[in-house]
Amino acid sequence: MKTDRRAFLKLGVAATAAAALCPLPARAQAGRPRVVVVGGGFAGASCARALRHTDPRIVVTLVEPSATFIACPFSNSVIGGLRELSAQQFTYEHVAADGITIVRTAATAIDASTKSVTLADGAKLSYDRLVLAPGIDIKWGALPGYDEAAAAVMPHAWRAGEQTLLLRRQLEAMDDGGLVVISAPANPFRCPPGPYERASLIAHYLKTKKPKSKLLVLDAKDAFSKQRLFQAAWAELYPGLLEWVPLSKGGNVTSVDAATLTLVTDFGKHQAKVANVIPPQKAGRIADAAGVADRSGWCPIDPVTFESKLQAGIHVIGDAAIAGAMPKSAFAANSQAKVCAAAVATLLAGSTPPSPKLINTCYSLVAPDYGISVAGVYQPTGGQLADVPGSGGVSPSDAPRETRKAEAILAEAWFHTITAEAFG
């Protein structure tokens, strides 16, 4: 007992001496460290909450202009008439209840040298560390003919909300026998299996409600996520209804004409009754303003801390980040958010974050009761997030229908769990 107390006292002295000599961040000495998180999606909301959970002394501010978050995962079910948009909507009430200050405006500028975020109303927020989780922006101008006015006629529906409902209404208003065209972009883009899940659920809608119709998927690629599983399911469930046209067969859309709903490829023209143009994308615009996006339009990061390779003190997570082998998915965003939060807390405490391990799992529905998945485990290797050798992969190609049914149920369960962690 006596020895313990003496040891404790000794440790106390050591701690005091260490504190006096250590170059701790100014904020941590004067008061509590401040972290600003920009963007309240799966990445930003999860990170803000994980920061508070990891170290309640950190003052966390979440900058997000929308009062309601509308989730993209499962929005293809909304388009296919299987789900209502209300099931995709989440508020920030519970996030705020965790003691996170929510600033309901947009961030317009960032000064990495003075560590300050400028808001749309001109106000400034100072930070000790900044986390950017801006998601994606459409790269307007990358596809000739596709601008914001064209998107009101040929929806992208790649950011959930009004665009999701517009595409659904167009499908509902179409006569039986119409041609629906989806154009899928080149890599990288948000949700790699997303265009193909969407094609599946639109095909399901057409098969059920408008069986004389046809669905064409024009692709800027020759290969895509879970391709063999999707194609096997399409052959089984939607023969003659859904046709996928790869790059090598003239799938690359080079321009569109919104006035006539025409998609032009290297090989010809397709006039659609309903056209869903999934255009090229880039990191959300604040990434550009902060100077954390490179010429690709995405943000290079350190795979251990998610700190920008271009600006010190700014971390980038979620779809905006170049995360090596990790896809731009909600699961990956949430996984990165928790690793980033732990790293930020460790850095604020003046220590070095350990090498992390991250997971991704993406479920896709090819029909309401038919799910498939891809999973991966990642670790920093040679400055990038790489697959852990021997891990990961897609659902087995010879799985029985019960497995497909189970994966459809697990997909829904995943959505409940992840939205509860981020917003519930």
């Binding site: 504190a19 220590s351 391990k357 369960a413 769990t417 509860a420």
Partner: protein
């Protein structure tokens, strides 16, 4: 000089010790993407917090070897070493 270095080492050690007590080991934070962290509401996926350590270790080993049928856990378990599995199981066993 030597005093400064010693103090710096002490500083790093204290900071690391403070953070490490709350922090999950590598990989553990990712589990809650599918495994619910709150007990609210039913889920077909097991909650991990408070589960028996040996039970989690055995499940991971069985998923990894293929002994136990799985949908995604076989593919995920293959990404973790024995030591990592031990650390994750121990951490979850202590959570409430």
């Amino acid at each position: 000089m030597r005093r400064t270095v010693t103090a710096a080492i002490a500083c790093a050690w204290i900071a690391a010790a403070t953070v490490a007590s709350a922090e999950p080991p590598a990989g553990a934070a990712a589990c809650s993407g599918c495994h619910p962290s709150s007990a609210r509401g039913p889920s077909p996926v097991a909650r991990l917090a408070g589960r028996d350590r040996a039970e989690i270790v055995k499940a991971m080993h069985d998923f990894r070897s293929g002994e136990r049928a799985a949908t995604v856990m076989d593919r995920i378990a293959k990404g973790f070493t024995d030591d990592e599995i031990q650390a994750i199981a121990a951490w979850y066993a202590e959570q409430k």
